[in-house]
């Protein structure tokens, strides 16, 4: 009850903070960052169900999101955007029939059709269903394959789904490489994504702490044991894939609506990679971690723009030199701290040498025009994310949160897994013959559990 109230209170506070953000001026950057965090957060949490809770490495999440994005886009596309010169490659059939507005009016639900928000909810739901259908197909190989092979199969499915919209036959439904533009931007309003995220958080935390969530985690921990304990592997794997794909589709729809356009480049493999960084950073298996990781990663992407600003070329050379020398010093430091000999491995001299040469070049050619001309360092943020992911995998594979979830008990207590003094005393009494003479005859000695 206390926890329930605290949760309500903090959600209320978050909503209030969000309200003040929306009314105050000059926060549009922060607002769009928050919107992105919410949208990607949904996707990350859904990916976390497969990768973290079920323990299957799935690399096809961008495919689910793409389906969701396209379905939402097609269903929501307003009549003025459906004219042939706007959607050149779209078939007439798709143009005229794949229209939620028409469907609703055909069913006599004019009230719903008149409200763009109601339509958006319905479209998102259908998008989720379409993605979920695909989730069943993509999840099916998990019944036969395991580990890295399965990961590659999911990756293959994701890439097939990404490549298909450009093919001439499929372009009749997707408008091919041109993509679909002019989608109503409902998700641009932050309340949409905020509420959607709350719903997703509620859903996934309830799922995780239910019997089904436990079954998923049992499969992650030990598939053979889970099966021997009566868990139907096929059903639960497909179920997890379906649920995950559903919410991936919803987040794809939200993202398409946020961008007001969708094409195949919107949902490429980088999307899955991005989510993978987020959930690995936060801690695989933890919903809290997924959200936390997404927040960090999105902030890097949104506010890391300065990394890609145009700069004189020498800045690049200099920072390259500094990075290399820093890596050299860092490796030496680590080896020293771990008392490894030699302190500097021969291979690590390469870093030092490259760094030193870059430094020399920077100083020697500083006046040269090619040193002073401006260049833009594209791709720095992606490189940074890649480096973050590699560093996590090497140094802290459990991420920030590990598998732990945020809970009020964790902060305020009482912690059920830490014995109280009374329990400790009882436990000692149970196992220590000195305290409990009755144990002397047929006791056990597992005092240190």
């Amino acid at each position: 009850m206390r926890d329930y109230l605290l949760t309500l209170l903090s959600v209320g506070l978050a909503a209030l903070a969000l309200y003040f953000l929306t009314v105050s001026e000059g926060t549009s950057g922060l607002l769009s960052a928050l919107t992105l965090i919410f949208i990607w957060g949904i996707a990350a949490i859904s990916l976390n169900l497969i990768n973290g809770q079920l323990g299957i490495l799935s690399l096809g999440h961008h495919g689910f999101m793409l389906i969701g994005g396209y379905v939402t886009a097609l269903l929501m596309l307003p009549a003025r955007e459906r004219r042939p010169f706007r959607t050149r490659l779209l078939s007439d059939w798709a143009r005229n029939h794949l229209d939620l507005d028409k469907w609703l009016r055909g069913l006599g639900l004019d009230a719903l059709a008149n409200s763009i928000d109601a339509k958006f909810i319905i479209a998102l739901f259908i998008a989720g269903l379409a993605a979920a259908l695909l989730g069943i197909i993509v999840g099916a190989p998990s019944l036969r394959l395991k580990g890295d092979y399965l990961a590659i199969v999911t990756f293959g499915f994701g890439e097939i789904i990404r490549l298909l919209p450009n093919a001439p036959e499929v372009a009749a439904f997707t408008n091919g490489p041109l993509g679909i533009k002019g989608i109503p931007g409902n998700a641009g309003n932050i309340w949409w994504t905020f509420l959607a995220l709350l719903l997703v958080l509620w859903f996934f935390s309830r799922l995780k702490f239910s019997s089904y969530g436990r079954a998923f985690e049992g499969i992650r921990e030990d598939e053979i044991a889970a099966e021997a304990m009566g868990v139907n592997l096929a059903y639960h794997k497909i179920l997890a894939f379906t649920i995950s794909a559903f919410f991936a589709g919803v987040s794809g729809g939200l993202y398409a609506s946020y961008l007001q356009s969708v094409d195949t480049q919107t949902f490429n493999f980088f999307v899955t990679f991005f989510l993978l960084v987020a959930i690995s950073l936060g801690g695989l298996g933890s919903i809290t971690g997924a959200l936390l990781g997404t927040a960090i990663v999105v902030l890097v992407r949104v506010y890391g723009g300065f990394l890609e600003q145009p700069n004189p070329a020498w800045v690049g050379y200099l920072s390259g030199a500094v990075l290399m020398l820093a890596a050299f010093a860092f490796s030496a430091y680590i080896r020293k701290a771990r008392r490894l000999r030699p302190v500097i491995e021969p291979k690590h001299f390469i870093f030092g040498a490259v760094g030193a040469v870059l430094l020399v070049i920077t100083i020697a050619f500083f006046k040269q025009p090619w040193m002073q001309q401006t260049v833009q360092f594209f791709g720095m943020r992606k490189m940074l994310l890649a480096v973050i992911l590699i560093l996590i995998m090497i140094y802290r594979r459990e991420g920030v949160m590990g598998r732990a979830e945020f809970s009020w008990k964790l902060i305020i207590g009482p912690r059920e897994d830490i014995p109280t003094d009374e329990q400790r005393k009882q436990d000692a009494w149970l196992s220590n013959p000195d305290l409990n003479p009755g144990l002397k005859e047929d006791g056990d000695d597992d005092a240190s559990a």
Partner: protein
């Protein structure tokens, strides 16, 4: 009607005949031990009964129903549960979760009901917790207070074995297959586990088949002993008769050169 009946089971891996022509009946309320030298096919026998492998030939009948060809989870639903020789617990989950997962297959609520926490689901969840505590109480209060919420990897080895047995019982099985329940335990703990296994039968009403290497444990609790060697059943009967059987002695110690 016997609870479990194996009729002329054969199983080969490639060229290796792991089990050949093994027949076995287990009656309700019995404790049957399967012994034999290493590689005799004891674990394979368990894997065949629980559906991990399918027998090449022969039938496995449980409560009058043919169960060969079923997947392990279906076998468990029918009422056969097992423990593993080298512990296969859900290491990062709490003790309670470990004992709730085997009850999952009896859950009637759908996943949506579980998410929505419908009254029926809440009731079922309560019921599952009650059963979990009931199974743990076989081992005394040591796992029931704070350890209930600790992850399994912090437990001692003996406690893990206990958790695994409780987990097998929680499936709601009638027949427990225990694969070396006393492995890695000291003599005191072995003695305790012997008593507990007997209590499984007397108080819990379970029928038990166990694979074991510690002969004093086997001798103390078995109603019947089955000896396997190279996948063939070479002896069956009372413990005393079996250990004096010349064929069994030969299997364990080899033939005496004349």
């Amino acid at each position: 009607m016997p609870l479990l009946e194996l009729r002329n089971i054969y199983k080969a891996f490639g060229g290796l005949q792991a089990i050949s022509n093994v027949s076995l009946t287990v009656n309700e309320g019995e404790i049957v031990s399967v012994i034999g030298p290493n590689g005799a096919g004891k674990s394979t026998l368990f894997n065949l009964i629980t559906g991990v492998y399918k027998p090449d030939r022969g039938d496995i009948i449980f409560q009058g129903e043919r169960i060969n060809g079923l997947t392990p989870d279906q076998v468990t639903k029918k009422g056969i549960a097992r423990t593993f020789q080298n512990l296969r617990l859900f290491t990062h989950l709490s003790v309670l979760d470990n004992i709730l997962i085997p009850q999952h297959h009896r859950l009637k609520s759908s996943w949506l009901a579980a998410v929505l926490r419908t009254p029926r689901y809440v009731r079922e969840e309560e019921e599952m917790k009650k059963i979990a505590l009931e199974k743990l109480s076989f081992f005394g209060p040591r796992l029931m207070s704070f350890r209930l919420h600790q992850p399994v990897y912090v437990l001692s080895y003996a406690n893990r074995r206990r958790t695994e047995m409780a987990r097998a019982m929680a499936t709601g099985a009638k027949l427990l297959l225990l694969d070396e329940p006393s492995a890695g335990m000291n003599p005191k703990e072995t003695k305790e586990i012997t008593q507990i296994i007997r209590r499984f039968r007397d108080e819990g009403g379970y029928t038990i088949v166990l694979v074991e290497h510690k002969m004093n444990l086997v001798g103390e609790i078995s109603d019947r002993v089955v000896v396997l060697d190279y996948g063939v059943k070479i002896a069956e009967g009372d413990y005393k008769d079996v250990v004096n059987d010349p064929q069994v002695i030969e299997a364990y110690l080899g033939r005496r050169e004349e």
